[in-house]
């Protein structure tokens, strides 16, 4: 197994390096680096969206969650797809038409506010650093089980190799690499299921064992309150996720974006079903692992035949790399394009900004390693946490802001700060009583953000018509002094 794995990993890393060098030769401007020259088509685009969404949270965390809690966690996917549909119909087309390079670009243009831009950039960097912690922690788990390696060593290898391919070609290289990664994930996960099922002695035997082991595994381990909270965290954050939205910018046009989202949902369905089966079947074969996060690595390393196992380990590593890469592109762009390029050196040349972006990527890649070594929770828990924060400060200014003319700069700033603060405050206080009241931090964060957005927008200076025209081209012009209309 270890020889096969070494060969498969070696071939995979060589291919990645080849694509990165090819992309680097074609990356000349900042638009090339951040948006791949806007040339990505629907199939590659859909695979890219699926790959950025399918992270360590899925191949390590979700497999572990199914291993531990069974079927009910699968309903979270409905939240994920609801988020995608909101994005497809209410967010992506308008953002793609606008043609920004980063999400703070949109915030600044929609609300005519550089303060809102800076705030969005800072919040992106903070919350995605948390997301990176989950990715690095997952890489540590895989390395511990598969290679017997210290987590720190694995994290440093993942960080270095991902930072390298992000640095070389930007979004162009990562798009083609992520296309490849999605195909590997679908193939690896899809082939693993029949092997596990055969080892477990068939479907009915596996079901019978799981039902006797813990009745909740095939029933409702999580109740409706919990599923609603998790689903809300995922759907609201995906609808406005900056790292997904950045990928819309790299696609050819609005039509391509919608087609790509449909392709992404298709890929995710295949992956979601496979991950559910793998989690449950690993529980049949190894009913008591020391950590649920080890389920996918143990399954790949100890159960599957060498080539499929190696492919799946590559799929896991690549899922982590693709997400780390997407996040680094977004956070690097937030620092270089939205903070440095706007506030510190507005006169900086394109090549200078690309260089700053690359330095930011390196620095931001290494910070989460320290936190990942502390192991604050299991991988899926950290992923859900960051989703809650993203939803709490971005859902309202992005989704409502794109579909309601009345949102103002002060409203956007208040909703971002208030949503983030309310989510954090509830997480530290009220979340402990979740079992009794059923109110989750994401619900508190988003509702607070929405109320602040509506109320503050009502009483503050409205956005100039020239900015609104970009996002509401067909709508009737409203006078500078008139009150904004209600949400549409």
């Amino acid at each position: 197994m270890s020889n096969t794995l070494a060969v498969v990993l070696g071939v995979y890393l060589t291919v990645i390096l080849g694509i990165s060098i090819w992309s680097a030769l074609r990356t000349k401007t900042e638009e090339d680096f951040i948006a791949a020259g806007r040339t990505i088509g629907p199939f590659v685009g859909g695979a890219v969206l699926a790959a950025t969404q399918i992270s360590a949270g899925t191949v390590v965390g979700t497999v572990g969650r199914h291993y531990l809690t069974g079927v009910s966690w699968w309903f979270i996917w409905l939240g994920v797809w609801a988020g995608w549909l909101v994005s497809a119909f209410f967010v992506a087309p308008k953002l793609r038409r606008f043609g920004a390079l980063t999400v703070p670009d949109y915030i600044a243009a929609r609300f005519d506010s550089e303060t809102a831009r800076a705030l969005a950039a800072i919040l992106i960097v903070v919350s995605y650093t948390v997301y990176l912690v989950a990715q690095f922690q997952a890489s540590g788990e895989i390395a511990r089980v598969v290679f017997g390696m210290k987590p720190l060593t694995a994290m440093l290898i993942i960080v270095s190799s991902t930072a390298l391919y992000t640095l070389l070609g930007g979004v162009r290289s990562s798009s083609y690499i992520e296309f490849l990664q999605t195909l590997i994930m679908v193939a690896g996960l899809g082939l693993a299921v029949p092997v596990l099922l055969s080892h477990a002695g068939g479907f009915s035997q596996a079901v019978s064992f799981l039902r006797s082991l813990d009745g909740r595994l095939l029933g409702w381990y999580y109740g409706p309150k919990e599923l609603l909270a998790f689903g809300a965290a995922f759907s609201l954050s995906i609808a406005a996720a900056p790292y997904e939205m950045t990928r819309f910018y790299s696609m050819r046009d609005e039509r391509t974006v919608k087609q790509a989202i449909a392709v992404a949902i298709g890929f995710q369905f295949l992956i979601g079903v496979s991950v559910l089966a793998i989690g449950l079947l690993t529980r049949v074969l190894f009913p008591n692992l020391p950590s649920p996060d080890q389920a996918s690595s143990v399954m790949a390393f100890e159960v599957l035949p060498p080539l499929v196992g190696a492919l799946l380990i590559v799929a896991m590593v690549s899922a982590i790399m693709s997400t780390v890469n997407s996040i680094l592109l977004v956070t690097g762009a937030s620092v270089a394009h939205d903070l440095y390029g706007r506030f510190l050196r507005p006169d900086a040349s394109e090549s200078h900004l690309v260089m700053v972006n690359r330095i930011a990527i390196v620095v931001l890649a290494f910070i989460p390693v320290y936190f990942a070594l502390q192991e604050f929770g299991d991988v899926q828990a950290i992923v859900v946490e960051q989703a809650k924060f993203i939803a709490s400060f971005f859902f309202v200014p992005v989704v409502i802001g794109l579909n309601w003319r009345g949102g103002t700069a002060s409203g956007a700033v208040a909703s971002m700060v208030g949503g983030f603060g309310a989510c954090l405050a509830w997480e530290l206080t009220g979340q402990r009583g979740f079992a009794s009241h059923g109110i989750d931090a994401v619900e508190v964060g988003v509702v607070t953000s929405l109320i602040l957005f509506l109320v503050v927008s009502r009483y503050t200076r409205r956005v100039p018509e020239r900015n609104l025209r970009i996002f509401f081209p067909g709508s009737e012009s409203v006078g500078e002094e008139s009150r904004p209309p209600g949400p549409s």
């Binding site: 511990r144 080892h199 019978s208 009913p287 159960v303 828990a381």
Partner: protein
């Protein structure tokens, strides 16, 4: 999230460890005898051991001190009482189809860094080692040995010559890689051919200036 998810995780991450597991399986014409020893370390209140129920088999306990409870999908027994170290020995017999042999899995987990799990099989001459689970190798004395990090619910030794799902899955991987590479090469070749034909325009007899 710790409030909602943390509790569920704590259930599986116990401080007590399963330090050593030694399983000896002797297979002999439709019958397998399993001799398994477990040693737990740390503050122990209770341990539950479960055995997966497999089709076409019957289980008979040879250790008389444990009473098995049976449900639809498994057999189980429990040990209760405070202790700082607990050795446990189980001996049982499987009759019927013995290409899969079920093993008792305790509710206390191993620690992959420090625990040791060893499964030895004697009498598996007619079985395919390559397709087995967990990963077995010949021990040089006519038997097989596997050292997984965790205790599996069963060992699988498919008869030699039977259809191997492992080899089928590995072949699928090779096939997919070959197919993907062929598509990629064909696409690139077509693209290159198209760009060559468009870059050197040929005069059309139908076109008038």
């Amino acid at each position: 999230m710790i409030g909602v998810l943390g509790l569920t995780v704590a259930g599986i991450a116990a401080a007590t460890q399963l330090m050593t597991v030694a399983v000896d399986v002797t297979i002999d014409s439709g019958r397998a005898v399993v001799d398994a020893s477990y040693r737990f370390e740390g503050p122990i209140d209770s341990v539950r051991l479960v055995l997966i129920k497999l089709r076409g088999q019957s289980v008979r306990m040879l250790s008389t001190e444990w009473t098995l409870r049976e449900s639809a999908g498994l057999f189980e027994f429990g040990v209760a009482g405070a202790a700082s170290s607990l050795p446990l020995h189980v001996r049982y017999e499987i009759n019927g189809a013995v290409d899969r042999v079920p093993l008792f899995v305790p509710s206390i987990a191993t620690d992959p860094g420090t625990s040791r799990v060893e499964i030895r099989v004697v009498g598996a001459g007619d079985f395919s080692v390559k397709d087995g689970f967990p990963r077995f190798r010949n021990d040089g004395r006519g038997g097989l040995v596997a050292r997984p990090d965790n205790v599996p619910s069963l060992i699988l030794l498919p008869p030699r010559g039977s259809l191997s799902i492992n080899r089928l899955a590995d072949a699928m991987v090779a096939l997919l890689v070959a197919f993907g590479t062929a598509i990629w090469l064909a696409r690139n070749w077509r693209r290159r051919a198209m760009s060559t034909s468009t870059s050197i325009p040929t005069p059309s007899p139908n076109r008038t200036p």
